[in-house]
């Protein structure tokens, strides 16, 4: 669709006069050019303006159109690729490095505010080299993370996945021990050293359930469960990488909601307490609960009116414990990521026809067969 046609359709759908068009069009064009057109599920002829016009045209009630449009203008949160890359780029220097500095300061008995002295210490170099970074999904962007931190972190500290082969474990440990001796030839036990910190990286968490959750049958599932099982299983090769009692595990999320942090804090405490594993959840950009769309919100009539259970729910969405009227697990997010829309966002953003099409079409992880 040509952009001008989309604009005309939008003006007609919204019943705008020239004054409204003059006020809204520059903003919409700027928003589209600045961010929204880069959404990876758009395609030529169907960019933001076209999608917005068609999406609003699906809403039958003029009041719904107005409310939905205001939502897009004022409340929608779109993380562009550049913004996510920025979060990745500051994750180590602004978040993890500070923790390593603090740990090194404790180790050598220095005032943790003497940052220059601590950073120049051998202890810091040892702690920094003994830190292992593992991606929990391709959203972890370990390639970009590695390039951003080339000066501080070696390639043998960053892995795309938490599922590590035995061969790889051997190589990681060999290289770690060689490097530690280079840093400090007198380092005790360098020949048997293990990683002292493991940082699990991921891009986005809304509910936290994909990391760890209880099944209906009482079992536990999730990525962190799998990782934990490996490091606690002495038969596993991965267990050789760390000493669970002396290793600090950091779950580093580039973007996460308060809901996810709260859920994960509670469930990980319960999960790891018996094994005495020390952990911390670090969020680079926290989404506060204030952004959530919850029952009673002005958008609720729209969520009620166009909800299509058949088109939107399946066996995967049911794991969230409720329907997806407010998004998966009732997260009620107004969030779109440049590569996809999380299903934790309110469903009109990623809906499926016939009742309502998506403003930002979503690619599902679970393919329907």
């Amino acid at each position: 669709m040509k952009e001008q046609l989309a604009e005309r359709l939008l003006a007609r759908v919204m019943n705008w006069d020239a004054e409204d068009v003059a006020a809204e069009r520059p903003i919409l064009q700027a928003m589209a050019a600045y961010k929204y057109d880069e959404y990876q599920q758009f395609y030529p002829g169907m960019r933001f303006l076209e999608s917005l016009a068609l999406w609003l045209s699906d809403l039958t009630d003029p009041a719904h159109k107005k409310e939905a449009y205001q939502f897009v203008r004022k409340r929608l949160i779109f993380f562009s690729n550049a913004e996510i890359q920025h979060l990745v780029s500051i994750a180590y220097p602004d978040f993890i490095r500070l923790r390593i500095l603090r740990r090194a300061a404790e180790g050598i008995g220095l005032n943790p505010y003497y940052l220059g002295q601590v950073a120049a210490s051998t202890a810091f170099s040892v702690f920094q080299r003994s830190c292992l970074f593992l991606g929990l999904s391709d959203g972890a962007r370990t390639d970009f993370f590695r390039r951003c931190n080339e000066e501080a972190i070696s390639h043998e500290q960053i892995l795309q996945s938490y599922e590590i082969t035995e061969d790889r474990v051997g190589k990681l440990l060999k290289k770690l021990r060689e490097d530690l001796i280079k840093i400090d030839v007198q380092l005790p036990n360098a020949a048997t050293a293990q990683f002292s910190t493991v940082v699990l990286l991921d891009d986005f968490s809304a509910s936290g359930t994909s990391y760890l959750r209880s099944n209906a049958d009482g079992g536990i599932k999730g990525k962190i469960h799998e990782f934990s099982r490996d490091i606690l299983n002495v038969e596993s090769a991965v267990a050789k990488l760390v000493d669970p009692l002396n290793t600090r595990i950091i779950l580093l999320l580039y973007i996460a909601t308060e809901q996810a942090v709260s859920y994960l804090t509670e469930i990980l405490t319960r999960f790891w307490a018996p094994s005495n594993i020390q952990f911390e959840i670090v969020v680079v950009h926290l989404l506060t609960s204030a952004i959530r769309i919850q029952p009673g919100d002005p958008l609720e009539p729209i969520l009620e009116h166009y909800y299509d259970k058949q088109a939107l729910e399946d066996e995967h969405t049911s794991q969230g414990g409720q329907g997806v009227k407010f998004g998966y697990a009732g997260c009620g997010l107004p969030v779109v990521l440049s590569h996809n829309t999380p299903n934790n966002s309110i469903y009109p953003l990623w809906a499926r026809p016939p009742k309502l099409r998506a403003l930002f079409p979503r690619v599902s992880r679970h393919k329907e067969l």
Partner: protein
């Protein structure tokens, strides 16, 4: 690249990256500013932000000159080319001028922050300016002669002229690459001194003055043995970014030097101190030309209107959203259409009833009323005629001198119904019956208060709505109604008022004083007899009072006047007030202080010039502190 929707939004010259776009959008009429026997004489260009200084300077630099020469046969460029040819900047063979443009927005202020004494600071400033001017000259020569890489600088020879002074560490003549290396090193030495912990002990040598004025001459640069340009000019832009000491030393040196290399200095009004601001416009008799842009255009209002409408046409043509060749044609400029007829007839009915009531009991106005009853013309014209009559009857009724009771003649009515009173009547009708008053391209030009950026901002808002009408209905001709034009202007005026406290020093007081001037003007304009027709939109203080505001012996004794002077200077610096000094009226000389025309919209004031009422300093102080009180004013007048 996204298509350009609204080219009016490309405001500042700095934001139009491509020289071709810049030249295409440049309004040739702006060159009127240079009308003189010596277009390239030393000048100081002054204006508020957006007056068009940077655009003017940029036009003479190599990129735009080359573009202009390349497109000299294209319609859109021809007029500008011919004007530039007339000035001697370009001819059939290409650019003839080497303009060395240097922005002062490059950290010169930090020279003042490192604790050096004034003398040393000034010497380093001159040395740094020299180094950067020479580097800029090399860049401009390369651009002018299309030298693509630094390797080609060897083809350039920098000659030693009889006027040349010695540059420390450089022997002339030299090649371009040697000059570049020397200038870079000099710049680095001075910057290193600034970065050092002890700049007092720096080895960087300063300079007694701008050596570049002696070095940059038409024959200084030779490319393959040939001079690169017939004229050389040095341009300093954004001089307001310097400290007042730096600015003072630079300007004084340039003016004292009287170099044969002309220098253009462009600075915003905010660079001027309080006394200079209060002296704006009194510039006759200087041995250099100081061009205060807004002031200049006020003297040639019609020309300014043509200039900005030409700029608007160029911008409108550049839009990819809509095909418009004349912006003016998109703005409704008359209320004579049938859609207004009924409303005007209603106005005629109301006004004529009032007139008859006023004329009741006297035969004095019988012929005048009969004349209006028989008047032909559009409903709008008749409504204005009736409202004019009402004002004239009010004036007659309030005359202290008794009449003989004979009916006044229709010839007298015709004589008294001049353009000014008709303009007042039109304003009264608009205010009373809700007709739009601020519409049409000519009004838009007036509302810009002779500031091009202000014009583009207002025009941009109107153009946005014009192109929006095309989005909604592509088959309709793009046209903005008078009502919508006025609504947009009212909104823009409100925004300007709201911005005052954030924009100007002493912002709250400035706003209070301006609001008082506006409220007073409205109060005075709306009097039934329409004195000073068509109304008032300015105040004036006597030049004697103006001198008091600049008098160092007066101000300490009158701190309230010092504050008033500060507030007036702040308003002048931001183009919220526009000063006309030495205005002759009633046998006295006055400093007229005009409200920025966009500010007038809020108070429904007329937009002409010379519409002022005299005020005393103490009254202005009261307005500044407490606001204008119409009751008090009325009582004062009774007394």
């Amino acid at each position: 690249m996204k298509e350009l929707r609204n080219p009016f939004l490309l405001r500042a010259s700095e934001h139009i990256e491509a020289d071709a776009t810049f030249v295409r959008l440049f309004g040739p009429g702006a060159l009127e500013l240079l009308k003189s026997d010596q277009p390239f004489a030393t000048r100081i260009f002054l204006s508020a932000a957006g007056g068009g200084k940077t655009s003017l300077l940029r036009l003479f630099t190599p990129g735009p000159l080359l573009e202009l020469h390349k497109h000299r046969d294209v319609d859109d460029y021809r007029e500008l080319y011919e004007k530039m040819q007339g000035l001697g900047a370009v001819d059939e063979n290409g650019p003839r001028l080497l303009a060395v443009l240097l922005s002062c927005d490059r950290g010169y202020v930090s020279l003042a922050d490192v604790g050096l004494d004034h003398a040393k600071q000034t010497r380093l400033l001159f040395a740094l300016l020299d180094a950067r001017l020479l580097l800029a000259a090399l860049r401009q020569v390369c651009a002018l002669k299309r030298l693509k890489s630094d390797d080609q600088l060897r083809r350039l020879e920098f000659k030693r002229l009889p006027t040349s002074t010695e540059l420390p560490g450089l022997t002339l003549p030299c090649t371009g690459d040697v000059l570049q290396a020397w200038a870079k090193q000099r710049e680095e030495e001075i910057c290193a001194a600034l970065d050092s912990f002890n700049p007092e002990e720096t080895n960087a040598n300063g300079s007694d003055g701008l050596l570049a004025l002696d070095l940059l001459k038409p024959g200084s640069f030779l490319l393959d043995g040939q001079p690169v340009a017939e004229h050389v000019i040095i341009m300093f832009d954004d001089v307001q970014k310097l400290t007042s000491l730096q600015r003072d030393r630079l300007i004084r040196f340039v003016l004292d030097k009287r170099s044969t290399t002309p220098v253009w200095i462009a600075e915003r009004l905010e660079a001027l101190n309080r006394d200079e601001l209060l002296d704006l416009g009194s510039i006759e008799g200087r041995d250099y030309e100081r061009v205060f842009l807004e002031n200049y255009w006020r003297g040639y209002a019609r020309r300014f209107e043509n200039v900005v409408i030409n700029i608007a046409d160029r911008r409108a043509r550049d839009s990819r959203s809509v095909e418009i060749s004349h912006f003016q044609a998109c703005l409704e400029d008359s209320l004579d259409g049938t859609e207004w007829e009924e409303k005007f007839k209603l106005a005629i009915s109301t006004i004529s009833t009032r007139v008859r009531a006023k004329a009741l009991g006297t035969s004095l106005f019988d012929k005048w009323v009969a004349e209006r009853d028989s008047l032909q013309g559009t409903a709008r014209e008749r409504a204005i005629a009736w409202r004019t009559l009402e004002v004239l009857i009010e004036r007659e009724l309030r005359r202290k001198q008794a009449t003989l009771g004979f009916a006044l003649e229709t010839e007298t009515l015709a004589e008294k119904s001049d353009a000014s009173i008709k303009a007042a009547a039109e304003l009264f009708i608009a205010n009373e019956f809700g007709f739009p008053y601020y519409f049409g391209a000519s009004t838009l030009a007036k509302l810009s208060s002779f500031n091009i950026q202000q014009f583009l901002a207002l025009g941009g808002q109107q153009f946005e709505e014009v192109i929006s009408t095309v989005v909604i209905n592509p088959l309709e001709p793009p046209m903005l109604t008078a009502i919508r034009q006025e609504a947009i202007l009212v909104k823009a005026s409100r925004a300007m008022w709201e911005e005052i406290p954030r924009r100007a020093a002493e912002g709250s007081r400035v706003k209070m004083l301006l609001e008082s001037i506006g409220a007073f003007s409205k109060w005075y304009t709306e009097r039934p007899t329409a004195p000073n027709d068509p109304g008032v939109n300015a105040i004036a203080i006597s030049m004697a009072d103006r001198d008091r505001l600049r008098d160092p012996s007066w101000l300490p004794l009158h701190p309230e006047h010092r504050l008033l002077a500060e507030v007036l200077a702040s308003a002048l610096a931001h183009n919220l007030l526009d000063a006309q000094p030495n205005y002759k009226c009633k046998g006295q000389l006055w400093l007229v202080l005009n409200l920025n025309r966009l500010l007038c919209v809020r108070y429904h004031l007329p937009l002409g010039y010379g519409l002022f009422k005299e005020q005393r300093l103490d009254e202005l102080v009261r307005w500044m502190e407490k606001g204008f009180d119409s009751k008090r004013q009325a009582e004062d007048e009774l007394i």
